[in-house]
Symmetry: C2
Amino acid sequence: MELKDALTKLSALQAKMSAYGHAMSLIYYDGATTAPKGTAQNRGQTLSVLSEETYKLSTGEETVELLEYLDAHKDELDEKNARIVLLMLKDIREMQKIPMDEYIAYQQLMVEADDVWHRAKETSDFELFRPLLEQIFDYEKKFAAYCAPEMHPYNYCLNKYEDGLTMDKCDEFFSTLKSRLVPLIKKIGEREQLSDESIKGDFDERDQEKFSLELMRTMGIDLDHCGLGTTEHPFTTSLGSHHDVRITTNYSRTDLSSSMFSVIHEGGHALYDLNSADDLAYTVLDGGVSMGIHESQRRFYENLLGRSRAFVEYIFPKMCECFPEQMEGYCAEDVYRAINRVTPSLIRTEADEVTYCLHVMVRYELEKRIMSGELEVKDLPREWNRLYFEYLGVEVPNDREGVLQDSHWSGGGIGYFPSYALGSAYGAHLLRRMKETVDVDACLREGNFAPINEWNREHIWKFGSLYKPADLLRSALDEEFDPSAYTDYLEEKYGELYGI
Amino acid sequence: MELKDALTKLSALQAKMSAYGHAMSLIYYDGATTAPKGTAQNRGQTLSVLSEETYKLSTGEETVELLEYLDAHKDELDEKNARIVLLMLKDIREMQKIPMDEYIAYQQLMVEADDVWHRAKETSDFELFRPLLEQIFDYEKKFAAYCAPEMHPYNYCLNKYEDGLTMDKCDEFFSTLKSRLVPLIKKIGEREQLSDESIKGDFDERDQEKFSLELMRTMGIDLDHCGLGTTEHPFTTSLGSHHDVRITTNYSRTDLSSSMFSVIHEGGHALYDLNSADDLAYTVLDGGVSMGIHESQRRFYENLLGRSRAFVEYIFPKMCECFPEQMEGYCAEDVYRAINRVTPSLIRTEADEVTYCLHVMVRYELEKRIMSGELEVKDLPREWNRLYFEYLGVEVPNDREGVLQDSHWSGGGIGYFPSYALGSAYGAHLLRRMKETVDVDACLREGNFAPINEWNREHIWKFGSLYKPADLLRSALDEEFDPSAYTDYLEEKYGELYGI
């Protein structure tokens, strides 16, 4: 094989995988948006064919041979192709270490676990889900031992979602957060609560959609390459390449902020995906590099910008145009206070900016202890409830609103949660760095996202998955990541809001 | 190879082709409905990968070997598998007869011709399109000579869309039509025109959508397996199998009948597709058998039922519920007359029930003469205009509204048009037969489509593509097809409407 031919094959292989990815993502998107409700089984039939083809394509003999050849010639590859080969081989080598029968059994377990988790959540019955969750944790431990025997099994899990992340880093990060957020939340609880009346009312769905598109345009999202759909649970997906991205939202008739922040949140993900360098399209490097960096971008837009006073000053007149009756009698400051109201609560996805990371921390500590053999799955509900009371001061009334609330574990996503909290903190540090050269508040007050987006494009977005997340972050920050940027930001913002 | 294994492989092959078909149809549907406008190139990239895979799959060595083996054992196959092998082999054997370089050149010509036709139509410039259309007809003649040297080349074309159709049959059919429709149209022209005021006005799109769903429910379309979208040009598509069908419509703000009859029209196609027998799903026999039969079903619903007095009596109160202001002062009879107004016109797709077939006849005669070498492409506009005046009494002011109006020729669809007219006539004969056992008018007056659909399901739909169209039709009619069922129907209905 000549190197040139091998690289041509590598391109063709990735183009094919992108095409299958396009098809599968679109089938998923269709299922969540417009498909008639009796068609899930039909989609399942097609998805099972396409995922089998993708699996064969990415792990087949010909592919392995090609990648091994290219790996043997890695010194002759450019940076981009070297990274592509490394990422593709990593997955294959991992797969090769896991006995096929266990891999298949695990896939089947996921399907069953998802179904059982749904029913367990509905009936708030942890015992129903427990045996499956035990098996999931057991498999994770076994796979960690196969794939990375030199590592602590939980570090193996963390690495799947954020390359290079360790328990030591997480411990340090969460301990900083805990030491500063728990007292802050306590103080906020002693102050008078902010009113959220200004964002409650009766909001027509079509007006909300118009407002959503206005928000996307303001954020600098290219509507020629990014669509907006409606789904029960909002999400972002890319179809084939960064040239076609879709975000979805969900409209609450009574709460304007629900869809508003869904759109900004998913819009943040979309901006990251849309702005990969064009030469990364149809390669495995197209799109965001890790969960943590992706979260940093979406929280950057949703919270650091979207919930800032400067942005509210810009967007408030637009809100008044879209909802003249509902906004009557309110001012921008009312909206600013309404969308920044802090309330310790039970459900992670509904949490405010200050309490959010504590929800994540509960999950992190529990996962770590189970993966270390210090906690048994059967004791999870008790420990969950104890930590929620300790960190957030809330009593968990049942497992549905407690340990069963998230879908991650039933899908095998052990080690996924920390990236949510890390992303928030990455975002705050990135903002601090950006402010050294960009007058972010002035931009926001004018609704001019261009300089902000330009900074993110040049420092983060355009690289796609070309660099390891830790390296990308260090290079964007031009220093080591410092979680206190985040706690400083929260203390300052909420200290002012609550008069602390 | 064991026969049992070969049949398992045949199933797997069809499942895979259905999955690719699902993906490609959905990508097309997405492009026509919700995709952001800058994403066409991205879809093109994915479609080119998927169509190459489909081509390889359906004509690859392994497939040919499998089908040849099964063909050699055809006496041991059941009816269903025998038909599957026959249909799949037919395409492959045809392809094998055409030199690969000519096949590829023809595919490229189609792409160019589509683009040039759009521009030629826009500027009403036939000369721009002429060289490409000449090549298209030349290729069709060449391919006919390669694939079916024993046939007249135009019979080869007709057979592609309606297996078993010949010029002789068409000539007889169209001559019956011409001898009875041309005088009818002339008489109608001498009578006072019917008013269409009742369906004109200002109709809100959301109200029209609600009404469309009401129409679909009334027709007995299972909304759990059939979705409704909005596109510039309405169409129907199946995704993977008959378990997921989508129809689209287009809402005219000022003309209620536009979307109303699009929905009933596409709904007729959808009913046919949705009601293949379940054991045909994920095989090449799933869905309608030919253009002609498909047209018969959609015209059955759109015209024979949808434009009947009995149906209007049922649906008029629903129209009043959806559009109370617009319907004020009108009665069911007003609507019945409005939707059955006959006006000889220039554009086929806007033609009424009586003049429609004459539009088709013009195209049939021209195609036949070109394929027979009796007419040159350069003389098409002149002949087109002459025939329009002769049959319909209208003067064609330009080629945009004349010979350039349809997209079929630019896509190589020579021989496609006659199935439109045949379908209308098949439908009328099917209705005559159905009325022997079903009180169709009574059903329509009650909005009860169940007995009508049941008849169609048992006689047409459930068979999918199991039988040749001519055989299917003969078995449903229990006699030879008779075009005078159609002309009788038109003379009776429009004679009464126009007092002839």
